[in-house]
Symmetry: C2
Subunit: 551 residues, 2 copies
């Protein structure tokens, strides 16, 4: 059998988030990224979702290292849940490792082997030589990984955009990608998030001018909400504040945590003369203050949401405040974000939001940037990643339009092993894959049955029927009692409750002695009769739980 | 006291939907619109939401008529719930009345006094003279209402846009609005839905060319999903189908119902030579077929969703199908819509969607159209309606920029009576207002307590603890039994269940005889101890229901 490499996508396929890809050759596996995602509306009560990496756990002895493209949650968020079990070294650039370190600390995880790498530094892990190549993205220290393998070079772009005028002047390593393309790339895996958008993303620098205008006009406090990991955005806000003579403070847990990590490694420059603690804001005039906070997605309990609802211990929104939402709503968050904006307007703030203000720009490559990457790399094979199915499909079509053979483009399935040789890519078998749900301390203990019950309970609530029965005589000793929650307001529905009791009583009255002593059938009959009665009466289908106590 | 008129907004304020406005003078009230809205994500299990019109019900003898601007659900949807109680005549244009009639029939409501009116026809209702004025919107027969009252003329625009090239050639009655403005309008209430968007909405006709291109290129079936009430859109799709030699069928309950209503009054022209029933589609080649269906919002059980998931009895999506989503996602529906699009792509369809294809246009005026309306009408007083708070606020700012006095602009509150005289507008008292939740057959019986319970149950599920106790002796006869739903998968959590039982048993063991006989305190203690135990163990907070049975 010819030498072959396996590419195994374990996350970021048919979804935005929980990115994770395994690359396997013989007895060696390396992992690229290990992120989380947020539950969709059907995953009631779930906190976060991480990839199923059973395949890696089952092949633990093969797994040699984790390479992380950048420090966003959808690339690092699952690390605390798996790193102790895998016990492998982690490689990332300085900010990425700083953020992972801070995350592990929050989870009380010590002793992880964390390694800071720099772009163009080559790291040899058994048969792989991994080279990070600098890209632009909405967080510093983002890299793609070029991986030299026994079958050829592969490139995983990670998340990227092409920003010719980044805030720190460090333009992405186009020469590095060009060189790689010249040398020949066997397979490229590339970010598909923005493939639906024509043209180019705007440079992060374009945000600066629009922010400046807002600073120029604001007469009271300026309260800016953005993604805490967008350090360049934070820097721009801080720099404008300094120019306009404003003190700056941070609010919100993740804002405080991430700005500290970035400042410690000098990637965020905080002039001690202008930085203040939020407890000090009353010492300064409103037009001398900037507050940078979390909440741009309208998240419950975030800084800005608490300020808007009057639940923040230091800041309440008042007329004269200028509130800037320097972020776009992530799909699915629109209602929360607009609720926040409405609340801010009601408190009298001047709210700057939306695409018209041009105070945000995406971190992902649009169509023309993707074309640039494809044209530089000219890979033999291509797997689009990081996207829902339509993104992957459209990215495949884009590659085709650029001249690639259709047969050389693979729209991947989650958990499928793709077998790559020097001149072919083929589907292999499936490995375990999917979503592991984290609910409180439970990892993976909430499955379909529990979620189906939560859904049922959430729609029409619950009816409990309790009866106590004599085991020896088969007669009813107490009940039937009816208890309901989430169905109707019980105090106002006594008549309905009485009728339910009658329905149950009539099942009991009609039961034979044998049925009373072996009451599985009676349970089913109570459920059936009550269900029919309630649907006729209310057109609702609450969960019905008959409970028999035996004495 | 000077003559005064009261304007009472009962819906459509701080929200998109359930539009309803009452206008009161002395002993006379007329109502404009009576719509529904859809539940937000917190209203678990709720089907629809209608306005609280207690004020109108309490003043039933004053209420004289309902005027309806157009036939969309957010303007007519609450009528079946209230019209029998109010027992008043309803006025609307032909399509509007046709749709109301069909809706009332679905609810088995007969005998409502329905009146078809035509634009510029004046209807006298006691002290009011109401004149419908034709506007453009995404449904035919849309009108504004100019109302002559004893204090002066008021104008309620209803929903509108300005379409100079409507599909039926019937341009909105700009002359009518201009004349009204010349005569002098005391108060205008105007649609604010699209006030965030600069410029103009596109004409419905612009959609035609883009649809034509899709028809030109499609090689298999064309399946178009759009709002069933957008009769002009349906007509365009039918006309293109005819031109390209395709038969047309409708799918989806509301599509069938509304197209029938519109065809009956000849507002939708159905050539019997091309219309077929969906059961006949297998008699025609794929490239000779157009299917028009519901589901453009990704709604569960809608036509297109069932076709995409293989659950439609006549149509399954196959490679070669061209699927057109001729509608934008309503905010909050994005995830459902994108899930549908992904599914369609997976089935191999070519999917046309999104703003890039220009296959949809909004029915609401953008900023420049709003400015046109304000400039024609030049009202003395202005109340922005039909919008969330930010829309109302921004619409007020737009009017100010056009030269209105700030004091003459009122950002309304729901349920507030605004008192209008010839030279002033003032806040009056509040009347009952808000959302009435419809769940199955229940109207308003699901309130805060029930919703809070549903929310609680949906997040962490439920633990039931049952004990049977001897009333006379105060001793435990059976239990404690633990039943849970939606918390953990019980079969895999026997240990945890055992531990819970121990926690409860220990409460029982430590209880005095008195406590056992009056067990309210024991219930509280069981709840407290179990809650603490479970939170420590799982970081979850299920609902805990202790149930005591007495014998």
């Amino acid at each position: 059998m010819a030498k072959n490499l396996k590419i195994i996508p374990l996350g970021g396929i048919d979804e935005i988030g929980k990115n994770c890809t395994a690359i396997e050759y013989g007895k060696n596996i390396i992992i690229i990224d290990m992120g989380l995602t947020f539950p969709d509306e059907e995953m009631l009560g779930i906190d976060i979702v991480i990839p199923d990496i059973s395949y890696l756990e089952e092949n633990k002895e093969k797994v040699k290292a984790l390479f992380v493209t950048h420090g966003h949650e959808d690339h690092i968020g699952a690390i605390p849940y798996y790193i102790e079990g895998l016990n492998i070294p982690v490689y990332g650039t300085e900010l990425t490792i700083g953020l992972i370190e801070s995350k592990l600390k929050e989870h009380n995880i010590n002793g992880t082997n964390l390694n800071i790498i720099t772009p163009r530094q080559k790291i040899k892990i058994d048969c792989f030589i991994v080279e990070p190549i600098q890209v632009s993205h909405s967080i510093q220290g983002s890299v793609a990984f070029a991986i030299d393998t026994p079958v050829g070079k592969i490139l995983h772009t990670g998340d990227f955009k092409v920003d010719f005028t980044p805030v720190d002047g460090q333009v992405m390593d186009l020469a590095g990608f060009a060189k790689l393309g010249e040398e020949g790339v066997l397979l490229m895996l590339a970010d598909s998030t923005n493939v639906e958008r024509p043209g180019y993303t705007q440079s992060e620098s374009t945000v600066s001018g629009n922010l400046e205008e807002i600073f120029h006009e604001a007469e009271g406090r300026i309260i800016v909400s953005t993604f805490s990991s967008n350090i360049h955005r934070l820097q721009q806000i801080i720099d404008h504040s300094e120019f306009f003579g404003r003190k700056v403070c941070f609010a919100g847990r993740s804002m405080l945590r991430i700005s500290e990590v970035a400042a410690n490694i000098n990637q965020l420059k905080l002039n001690p003369n202008i930085m203040i603690d939020i407890s000090q804001i009353n010492n300064y005039a409103n037009n001398k203050l900037t507050i940078i906070t979390t909440g741009s997605q309208g998240e419950n309990m975030s800084g800005l949401v608490r300020m808007a609802s009057g639940n923040h211990s230091h800041v309440s929104i008042v007329p004269g405040d200028t509130v800037v939402l320097s972020a776009s709503p992530i799909p699915g968050n629109e209602k929360l974000v607009y609720r926040l904006i409405n609340q801010l307007f009601k408190k009298g703030a001047d709210v700057k939001y939306g695409s018209l203000e041009d105070i945000h720009t995406s971190g992902h490559a649009c169509q023309e940037e993707l074309k640039l990457m494809h044209s530089l790399i000219k890979p033999k094979f291509f797997i689009p990643v990081h996207g829902e199915y339509r993104h992957l499909k459209l990215h495949g079509q884009l590659a085709e339009k650029l001249g690639m053979d259709k047969e050389n483009i693979v729209i991947p399935e989650l958990g499928r092993r793709y077998i790559l040789t020097e001149d072919s890519i083929k589907q292999g078998n499936m490995v375990p894959n999917g979503a592991v749900l984290v609910d409180g301390l439970g990892i993976g203990d909430v499955g379909e049955v529990v979620l189906r019950d939560r859904k049922h309970l959430s729609q029409d609530g619950l009816i409990i029927v309790v009866l106590t029965i004599s085991k020896s005589e088969g007669i009813l000793l107490a009940g039937p009692d009816i208890i309901s929650r989430g169905f109707v307001y019980m105090k106002e529905s006594e008549e309905l409750i009485d009728q339910m009791r009658e329905v149950v009583q009539s099942v009991v009255d009609n039961a034979s002695l044998k049925e009373m002593m072996q009451w599985q059938d009676m349970k089913a009959k109570i459920r059936k009769d009550l269900k029919k009665f309630l649907y006729g009466k209310t057109r609702r289908k609450p969960m019905i739980l008959p409970i028999f106590m035996e004495i």
